[in-house]
Subunit: 201 residues, 2 copies
């Protein structure tokens, strides 16, 4: 995968520093079944409240089921379709709204599903694959098309594949791909003792 590591004031684990969300994907190279299983296993071992594991993943593989993959692709916003067209794998991350043990609302369902998806993306990084999450899709269309229970929440589509040549991207996205990554300063994200107070040295 092209390198674009996080810039941090202290060292962090390489896997976390190397993960990012590229868009250039090789259209011709499938993701192997062992690779797909590794992504799903990594998600499976995320932590969750009461061990409920509220995440669900729907998978489409363009090399095995082009018609199904196309149906998933059609749920994406146009801006995403521009580059996702090359992705061999699409996943949809779904949050199950109620706890399994008592059928009561699980207020951590989306939080825990986000953790599982982060594991999935980190595992992709470990395998040298691109994984790029998208909020730009129509969750109601996906529900209707793929028989997803009405009370479940479609959180993100995830495009997965092998890294591809940057020339495959439209100009604007190619520029975005080569820009340095950035984040808010830590002082806006973390506080010590009470809200608004900086973490002390």
């Amino acid at each position: 995968m092209p390198k674009n590591p996080a810039i941090t004031q202290v060292a962090i684990a390489d896997l976390i520093a190397q993960r990012w969300s590229p868009r250039a994907i090789d259209p011709d190279q499938p993701v192997s079944r062992d690779q797909l299983l590794a992504l799903l296993e990594a998600a499976r071992w995320a932590p969750s409240c009461f061990g409920d594991q509220p995440w669900r993943y729907l998978v489409w593989d363009r090399f095995r089921d082009p018609a199904g993959w196309r149906q998933a692709f059609d749920c994406l916003a146009e801006g995403n379709q521009l580059w996702v067209k090359n992705a061999p794998i699409l996943l949809l991350a779904v949050a199950a709204p109620n706890f399994g043990h008592n059928d009561q609302p699980n207020r951590w369902a989306q939080y825990d599903t986000g953790a599982a998806s982060e594991n999935l993306c980190l595992q992709a990084t470990a395998l040298g694959l691109v994984a790029h999450q998208m909020g730009g899709f129509d969750p109601e269309a996906a529900k209707a098309r793929f028989n997803i229970p009405a009370d479940h929440v479609g959180m993100a589509m995830i495009a997965v594949g092998h890294p591809g040549a940057i020339e495959l991207l439209p100009q604007a996205l190619a520029e975005k791909e080569q820009a340095p990554r950035s984040r808010k300063p830590l002082a806006q994200l973390a506080f010590e003792g009470r809200w608004g107070q900086s973490v002390q040295n």
Copy 2:
């Protein structure tokens, strides 16, 4: 950290396989500032919708601010206090409900915050630290006590410290600590093509 690796049908990244949620924490060993910064930096570099980074973390360090730490500790459910009493660091993960760029509701706020917290816990694993998330706390008490904006959502308290002797735990928790970890079978968590259909080999 005591080893209790995930059992998977294909290999996954060691960092993901090794992360788990122990409760035995050394009461006497502080977490260094560089370690704390590494945890927060790992969270900072998680992905988010529109790059909004909706996660916020509040930190309390028992060795620096015992009174503040105690106020945070008092927000925990009693069952958690039994073992968290030994933790040198408490964190609270908070989701900011609206996008920064337009102040409209961010439906990925909790999902993205979950991803950031997973990065934080994986970074703890990389440093040989215990990090254990808890839903069992009073988010409204925490909001009032620490001046957290009313519309923000307290998602999880996270206890962090160095691994400790299992004898420090009450008997029931010591047994839990030594039990094998488990997850639902992949067939309940991942589907291919449409809801309910197993991933093919």
